[in-house]
């Protein structure tokens, strides 16, 4: 593999550049995926049948916690990439671990939130609205969960192999994924929770 020293480590080989562009295209597909879920949600949001409406079941406290935690994790992974660019492998690993811990906390809050919905009679089967709500949130939550496992593999490889063009590339792509999930959450927070609560 030819390594171009003039570029950041994650871009330094041709395969690395291909991987990063490929992942951006994949994020394009993910935008369509979540876009479709949002479209479905907006169509079904008032079709509550005999079940509750959003305003009746949404609780601001856990949602605010989730939002702060996820936004913070986006910041910490940004610091991780900054450390990577500077070549501080150890700091980078710690920032990645912190990011993943925040991810786990986020998922815990989301599990609590889902249990709350089921408790108040808004399960997946209740109405078209609850199905669309839980599927949209669930898809995002599943992405975060997948990301936590993926991130664990990356941290493991960073510890084992150090910063190489491959591990830097993987870490960078993972950070793109993590930021993307954050962006999706901002839309969920604004258009599902805030819009649903007013």
């Amino acid at each position: 593999m030819k390594i171009d020293q003039s570029l950041p480590l994650e871009y330094s080989t041709q395969q690395n550049q291909l991987n990063i562009l490929g992942f951006w295209v994949f994020i394009g597909a993910e935008i369509m995926l979540f876009g479709t879920l949002f479209a479905g949600y907006f169509v079904l949001v008032d079709r509550t049948g005999n079940g509750p409406t959003g305003a009746e079941i949404f609780e601001i406290t856990p949602v605010l916690f989730e939002t702060f935690i996820l936004l913070t994790s986006s910041f910490t992974i940004g610091l991780g990439i900054h450390a990577m660019r500077k070549g501080y492998t150890k700091a980078m690993i710690w920032f990645y671990v912190l990011t993943l811990v925040l991810g786990v906390v986020f998922i815990s809050f989301e599990v609590y939130e889902f249990m709350h919905y089921i408790h108040v009679g808004a399960s997946l089967q209740t109405s078209a609205f609850t199905a669309a709500l839980l599927t949209t949130l669930g898809t995002h939550g599943a992405h975060v969960t997948f990301g936590v496992f993926w991130g664990m593999f990356i941290v493991y490889q960073l510890i084992q192999r150090g910063l190489t063009p491959e591990t830097a590339n993987k870490s960078f792509i993972f950070s793109l994924y993590w930021h993307f999930l954050d962006v999706v959450w901002i839309f969920i927070f604004s258009f599902i929770y805030l819009k649903g609560m007013v």
Binding site: L18, L21, G49, L124, S127, Q157
Partner: protein, 649 residues
């Protein structure tokens, strides 16, 4: 035994039992044959684990041809049932299952892999690359497609075929009205193969954007590569919509949610909208690469460069954009109101403009050209008038007010067959004849090829033109029989004769392949058609590294420049070549996905969980694996090249 009762077919018939026996015997024959000829190792090393885009392309091609015959068998059964009034060859349920699988197989498992075959094989060669951007993912794409296809194909012998139409409209497709597991098969087969298609889309976009030969700017790419790029962009934007729709449909059927139900707030039209937001762009995913193949062929056999290159590219980009803005025309009669219908009428008719530009560009390419009527060219010439019939009737259907008359009649069936068969199938057959020498090193017989082309073209007209008449007369689609007093009998009989003609044509195609394998002369050289683009600059069959030296390009027609304008195509010295390693994991992952889909279809949760874990283990393995690929040393490249070139020059 109770556990196994779920696998029984709900509507058995003699034909299905016969198929079971036939499938069983074929599987045994394949296993015995492989063992007897000691080919297991060869199959595993050369095909199942390959990441070579050319071999993957050939596997797509073989799958597409197999599925063509599966879908064709469905078609001939339908036409036989409809040939005479009050026929009892098939009952209503069986007829439903057959038109459903015919549509699904032909679109998803015949046309798509046919396109994928050419994209995989040709695009890297046309841009002077050694493989696609992600060879391992490419293998995974193929195996996901293949396993999805197999999943749909076993449905009719295990558990029952899908029977809600290839459009799978809810609420017809929900548990109440489609009680067998058939619709689950449909949902999971499309989900798995759709995942493969999405991966191909990403792979091809990156390949085309980042791996072109030096000098090949975007506007110097051959037209087929351009059409593939546009089609793959559509794939990336359209397929996630299908993913979500299929997931919601799956949830409705397996977890009793209310997305598409008619109670508790569910909205059945949401499925129709999602389906066609994917489904209409899907049509252009098929037709654009087909247009690309026609562009290559027409330009080659006119001895001229393609007329209006820029307008060709522009019209494809416009088509790709408009393809997302027309989906409502599939259900004008569902009560959107006049304003919505009018808007979608206008966008629909607007697509005829860029398509017309392309037709005229081909005609102008022919003008003053030195036309050579080879088989691929014959298909292309038969395509233009027949496709235009299909296209013009499409504009008729696009007028929303008039559509109330045509909707759900045989007129519509005639229309889309008259677009897809000349547009896509003729292109695939033309491409098959055109690229056959590149793939296998010998030509298909021209005489049999031309007979086949004429038989297929005339039979297409014979099979589908009568449907325009009977459709306007009120014959509804998807009705399994009709009474003699309707007067549809004559038209349907003519259609049946056309269908027999098509069967003969496709059998002749297979005969041509067998005949040419036996008798066709070898050593046709790397460029048997006097073609113009890079894929013909490397020996046939193509060495695994594609190009020994990286080609340099100065125009859209690199090879033509090299042959007739003293352009030096390969100015660089030999260098060692980096190639990816083979891997069995994509095949394994495909098999696990098959088991995963199968478990979901029957709601068997323990196997579902186990296979899901298996999928994640494969991904973890990929994450931890170190796979630097390998280098082919200069000496080996030189000896391979002198062997390949030496035998030809």
């Amino acid at each position: 035994m109770e556990y196994f009762e779920r696998f029984a077919i709900p509507h058995p018939s003699q034909a299905i039992y016969a198929s079971m026996v036939a499938i069983g015997l074929t599987v045994i024959a394949i296993i015995v044959g492989l063992t007897y000829f000691k080919k297991w190792g060869y199959l595993w090393r050369e095909w199942l684990t390959t990441v070579d885009h050319k071999r993957i392309g050939i596997m797509y091609l073989i799958s597409a041809l197999l599925m063509l015959f599966r879908g064709g068998a469905d078609a001939i059964m339908m036409r036989a049932q409809m040939a005479v009034p009050d026929n009892t060859l098939l009952d209503a349920q069986h007829y439903n299952e057959i038109f459903t699988t015919h549509g699904t197989v032909m679109i998803i498992f015949m046309a798509m892999p046919f396109i994928m075959a050419f994209m995989n094989y040709i695009v890297p060669l046309q841009i002077g690359a050694r493989d696609v951007a992600f060879p391992r993912l490419n293998a995974l794409s193929f195996w996901l497609f293949f396993m999805g296809a197999m999943l749909l194909n076993i449905s009719f012998v295990i558990g029952g075929s899908p029977d809600a139409g290839w459009t799978n409209y809810f609420p017809l497709a929900n548990n109440e009205f489609s009680q067998s597991v058939g619709t689950n098969y449909y949902l999971f087969a499309l989900q798995i193969s759709g995942l493969g298609t999405l991966i191909t889309g990403i792979n091809m976009i990156v390949t085309i954007l980042k791996m072109r030969a030096p000098g090949m700017t975007l506007m110097k790419m051959p037209m087929f590569t351009w059409s593939s790029l546009v089609a793959n962009v559509i794939i990336v934007f359209a397929f996630p919509v299908l993913t979500v729709a299929l997931t919601m449909g799956t949830f409705d059927r397996l977890f009793a949610t209310n997305f598409f139900t008619t109670s508790d707030g569910g909205m059945d039209m949401l499925w129709a909208n999602f389906f066609w937001v994917w489904g209409h762009p899907e049509v252009y995913i098929l037709i654009l690469p087909a247009f690309g193949i026609y562009s290559e062929i027409i330009s080659t056999f006119s001895g001229r460069n393609l007329y209006g290159y820029k307008s060709m590219v522009g019209s494809m980009v416009i088509i790709s954009f408009l393809s997302f803005l027309v989906w409502t025309h599939h259900f004008f009669t569902m009560g959107q109101g006049a304003l919505t219908n009018s808007i979608f009428s206008i966008t629909t008719m607007a697509i005829a403009v860029p398509t017309g530009v392309k037709i005229f560009n081909w005609l102008f390419t022919l003008w003053k050209g030195k036309i050579v009527f080879t088989t691929p060219m014959l298909y292309s010439m038969l395509f233009i008038p027949t496709f235009t019939i299909g296209g013009v009737t499409g504009v008729m259907l696009g007028m929303s007010a008039a559509d109330y008359q045509y909707h759900n009649t045989m007129f519509l069936v005639a229309h889309f067959h008259m677009v897809i068969i000349p547009g896509v199938v003729f292109a695939m057959l033309a491409g098959l004849h055109y690229y056959w020498p590149k793939m296998f090193g010998f030509m298909l017989n021209e005489k049999i090829g031309k007979w086949t082309a004429w038989i297929i073209a005339i039979s297409t007209l014979l099979a589908f033109m009568p449907m325009f008449v009977s459709g306007l007369d009120g014959q509804a689609r998807r009705m399994y029989t009709y009474s003699a007093s309707t007067g549809f009998g004559l038209w349907n009989m003519i259609s049946f004769i056309g269908a027999i003609g098509l069967t003969i044509g496709f059998i002749l195609l297979v005969y041509n392949v067998i005949y040419s394998i036996r008798y066709s002369p070898r050593n046709v050289g790397s460029d048997p058609w006097d073609a113009r683009t890079l894929e013909w600059a490397t020996p046939s069959p193509v060495p695994y590294y594609n190009f020994a030296k990286v080609p340099h390009v100065i125009s859209t027609e690199a090879l033509w420049d090299a042959k007739y304008h003293q352009h030096e195509l390969f100015p660089e010295p030999y260098e060692k070549i980096h190639m990816p390693n083979n891997s069995g994991v994509p095949f394994l992952l495909g098999c696990i996905f098959f088991a995963w889909g199968f478990s979901f279809v029957f709601g068997m949760w323990i196997p579902t969980i186990l296979t899901t874990i298996g999928i994640f283990i494969c991904m973890a393995h990929r994450s931890l694996e170190k796979d630097p690929g390998h280098y082919v040393p200069v000496e080996k490249v030189k000896t391979t090249e002198s062997k390949l070139r030496g035998s030809q020059l």
